[in-house]
């Protein structure tokens, strides 16, 4: 009887001990089951569970819901341990308020040596490492080769903004809608205005405005004027203000318009959102960088895009960081790169990129001396959304370039 009791207590203790040491890691992401990186996310979770005995719980939220829900979630007891981030201003706000964990002690230098230093730096705040990068992206003009050829446009001649305007006129003259735009979601429109900012103002003016204000300077007014020049041609599909980003991707994939200014995720999204599910084939699609503007202070090689990754909430266990280091690793990134899921940040993984578009983007970013993170993320939720609003208002033709830049300057002052 005594022996039985001993066994019983030992077993109970063992069960308790092992379960007390097994963490449940809550991982909040925004990749649907049909996205190309999802299979490897599941694989990484399963491998990690088998190796360590911890449990990884994956939680999915759609992009817009994710952004809306996260602030509340982070302050509740139900907060995720790991969640997606575009780095930049929103991340700084979260870090300043103490909602992120400093993981410097958990991430060894040997791991950091394996990832791109610039990408890893994007996930630091005041010397603290608060997250790990996953991928980089770039916004560029995508075009439908058939339609562009039909209109007789040669994209290799689009070097300056005026060339783009001429191309739009030419496409329109051929009876084709020049540009697909998801105006309801607003952020697709802000790429247009802010990429012009990058061309007109360059890195120095951006940093100057960020630190000392001056979002209403002449260089930025010029972006508004250039945008209105384009808008006056009515280049977007009819009803573009009622269309969302998935609509935009679908229209492009269905060949309903010739071009779209979008991040490299357009490649997969135009397929999944098209009516056929096939979208445009690789041979019918092309990409070119945002053209320069005459007299612009930026460099033609400067890029707009993202450095996205994963943040750790203040209560995340060490195992969450260990899991992420397992996921963001050469093996998985190589495979994801080969599948065309994204542009990896682990050194040596980009050689697996077989997709010509992603290869080109990876090349652009590595050649770029100034990779500006999306304005609506980098400037924080407040100023970022003002930028989205005024960009859309410019596209709708209801505000002047002065009003647009003034609104951003006011939002910046309001936040000082």
């Amino acid at each position: 009887m005594k022996l039985l009791l001993k066994i019983f207590f030992s077993l109970t203790f063992l069960t308790f001990y092992s379960s007390a040491n097994a963490d449940t890691i809550k991982w909040l992401h925004l990749f649907g089951e049909d996205s190309s990186q999802y299979p490897n996310m599941v694989r990484a979770a399963e491998e990690f569970e088998a190796k360590t005995g911890h449990t990884v719980v994956m939680q999915y939220l759609e992009n817009e819901s994710f952004k809306a829900k996260l602030p509340t979630m982070l302050q509740s007891n139900d907060r995720p341990d790991i969640f997606y981030s575009w780095s930049g201003g929103v991340m700084y706000d979260q870090a300043k308020a103490g909602f992120l964990r400093d993981i410097s002690d958990v991430v060894p230098d040997s791991y950091l040596d394996t990832v791109s230093a610039a990408a890893a730096d994007a996930f630091t705040f005041e010397g603290q490492r608060v997250g790990l990068p996953l991928q980089v992206s770039q916004v560029a003009w995508w075009y439908n080769k058939d339609l562009i050829n039909q209109a007789g446009v040669d994209v290799s001649n689009i070097k300056e903004w005026d060339d783009l305007i001429s191309a739009v006129k030419q496409i329109q003259a051929a009876g084709i809608t020049p540009i697909c735009m998801g105006g309801k979601d607003k952020w697709p429109v802000h790429f247009l205005w802010t990429h012009l900012h990058i061309r007109n103002g360059g890195k120095d003016l951006f940093l100057e405005s960020l630190n000392n204000g001056g979002w209403d300077r002449p260089e930025y007014l010029k972006s508004g004027e250039q945008m209105l020049e384009l808008v006056a041609l009515e280049p977007f599909q009819k009803g573009f203000l009622a269309h969302t980003w998935p609509d935009q991707a679908g229209f492009f994939g269905d060949g309903k318009c010739a071009m779209a200014l979008m991040g490299n995720w357009m490649y997969g999204s135009q397929k999944s959102n098209s009516a056929s599910g096939e979208g445009l084939g690789d041979d019918n699609m092309g990409m070119f960088n945002m053209p320069m503007t005459s007299g612009g202070l930026g460099d033609a090689g400067d890029t707009l895009g993202g450095i996205n990754g994963w943040l750790f909430s203040s209560s995340a266990p060490d195992s969450a960081v260990e899991f992420m280091m397992h996921y963001v690793s050469l093996d998985i990134q190589k495979e994801d790169a080969a599948n065309g899921a994204y542009i990896p940040i682990v050194k040596g993984a980009d050689v697996s990129l077989t997709n010509p578009f992603l290869q080109q983007v990876a090349q652009n970013i590595s050649n770029s001396e100034y990779h500006q993170i999306f304005y609506d993320q980098f400037l924080g939720a407040d100023i970022g959304r003002v930028v989205n609003d005024v960009s859309t208002d410019l596209a709708a033709g209801i505000i002047t370039p002065e009003e647009a830049t003034q609104a951003v300057q006011e939002a910046w002052e309001f936040n000082q």
């Binding site: 105006g183 309801k184 309001f414």
Partner: protein, 299 residues
Amino acid sequence: MRSAKLDALLSRYYTIIIFLIPALTIFTLFVVLPIGEAAYYSFFRWNGYGAPEKFVGFKNYEFLFKNRVFILSLKNNFYIIAISLFVQLPFALLIALMISDKLRGAAFFRTIFFLPFILAEIVTALIWAYIYDGNYGLVAAIWGFFGAEAPFVLGDKDWALVAILIVIFWKFFGIHMMIYIAGLQAISKEVLEAAKVDGAGPITTAFRIKIPMLIPTIKLSVFLSLLGSLQLFDIIMPLTGGGPSNVTHSMVSYLYYFGVMRMKVGFGSAVGVVIFLICLFIAIGYQRTLMRDDNENKF
């Protein structure tokens, strides 16, 4: 020695107090405290993370009343109220007068007209977003039938609000019709028969007997419609999200987009306080004026 009368009075108050405690606790916890908290936060610049520290006085309110979009959303709420009161309610009353009698087919029409109200507001808005779609929707089909190119009403800043008002009308007139039908059925049959004997036709009966006797019901329906219009949110979100160019916001969707989504909790609280004061003003004003006679009858 206490008199028996005093004892009776005290015991009556004890009962009231004992019954009041649970309700008062819940009301204080979930209504009074949050309002007080919102009022407090509205004096801070605060992004919702950590504790509010940056005191800004009335700056949030100042910014709010100078903000073009907020003024526009106030106006939109005014339009919604106007359409509800002057178009929706009279129409609901007309239909109620037509189908309140126990005629053949009346129950069928009642169900049909009431159906939109049963749908969740989000579902309603999503259905109408498809209807309004200029490529594939019903609007596109109708325009296409006449060989015309369909408009994208939800993306048109002149028409988007009209489109939303149509959905509101469609969705909510059914409930007001039901309220009127209930009121009409409560009218004594004797009165109606007496009128008939006196030679009153259906129109005279409607205007001289039914509508005057329905006044308390109408007042209630006006009140519900007023408050419902001020709270409007979930129909706007899927239809336009306040767009295009922020021309279709209601005060509540404005609060969501400019307070919650932008992580300006202090500013959002100021919007909340203003909405609360407007609702309170209307509710008290309404009770004190239009509902006064009914209240006096009751108490």
